[in-house]
Symmetry: C2
Subunit: 204 residues, 2 copies
């Protein structure tokens, strides 16, 4: 039995040297992905940009895919906690606004497009991306659970399905149909998901 | 004024040599994308696989991005016409089933993932992908227009927004959250979009 809180590279001793190295390497990874996408992700250049020895980067992360997988774990750990505005409509609007802001942010939008693209070519990236959304959707599922407890949703409504429905139209525009999602699109995504949920579309 | 029906490479003289060359080159492009993604798309190998001279391929398509852009035009031209089942619910279910079948088809799913990934790295691919979805959404918008004429939808419902809402959760699973969309997911996508539309979520 180990007292180490996690087997994830660099998460031991928060605030210590290991954590600082991980932060520097993941920041450099994110910067490189935002600027040039996954094809530009080179271990030696990430090590140089992070001011960390190449051997350390190869030993801890192994490959560009290892960097992306750990970046996605870090993004999941750092993702904002779910809103709690007092109504389901308010919480879903807050979620939609956050998703839209992330996807249209010049840096974070490019990072998401890059990791989604990398997942198309690489199984390990695809698994890491799936893990990111499992964490993020579970984090926000609480808004649907609270609404169900307040009687705002039909019995048996699937919280994850409701949250997927809020994000999906915004990702569809940003990543698939190549139409930049507007604030009105975010409002509509939240309102449509709520209307569908109230009609029982996410209940058995 | 020219009698040629289109300025798109290889579409003149349907059934003629030009059309046959285009068909062979686009089939080879699709095969390569399905097998290895955009990074594997090499002009010389596509020419060899298509049994067409390299000079012809370079002259007509210019670059791998040119091949992807023309493939997307071809896929838009060949996409199935909208269903006409007599009810909006039936038409949306048919659309959702078609989207799901395409995204989970081993060959076509891989082609879509590859072009979506390529759009993350390349502006011209992104424009061509946007054009594909404009064509496809407009083709299917007619199901919402017919439903509005039958009085099945609130006045002013945006047909394109309704059709985007049917596709979005299936693309979100297949491309973003890495969860293979099931037939039940397709049914739910159609039912949720219909419920939201009836509640007025896609009307002003």
């Amino acid at each position: 039995m180990s007292e180490s809180p996690s087997a994830v590279p660099g998460t031991q001793r928060p605030g210590g040297r290991t954590a600082k190295v991980r932060r520097a390497v993941l920041d450099a990874t994110q910067e490189t992905l935002a600027a040039g996408g996954f094809p530009a992700l080179n271990m030696d250049q990430v090590a140089a940009a992070a001011g960390v020895g190449k051997t350390t980067v190869y030993r801890r992360w192994g490959s560009p895919v290892g960097l992306v997988a750990d970046l996605l774990r870090d993004m999941a750990e750092q993702s904002l906690p779910a809103a709690d505005t007092g109504t389901l409509a308010g919480d879903l609007r807050a979620n939609a606004a956050l998703v839209r802001e992330t996807l249209t942010d010049p840096r974070m939008g490019a990072v998401f497009r890059a990791v989604i693209a990398a997942a198309a070519f690489d199984e390990e990236c695809a698994r890491a991306l799936g893990g990111f959304y499992r964490t993020r959707l579970a984090e926000w599922a609480v808004v649907a659970e609270r609404a169900a407890a307040r009687g705002e949703l039909p019995a048996g409504t699937d919280p994850l399905e409701l949250l997927r429905a809020v994000s999906a139209p915004l990702y569809y525009r940003a990543v698939v149909s190549q139409e930049e999602p507007t604030p009105a699109d975010a409002e509509r995504a939240a309102a449509a998901a709520l209307a569908a949920a109230r009609a029982g579309a996410y209940a058995p």
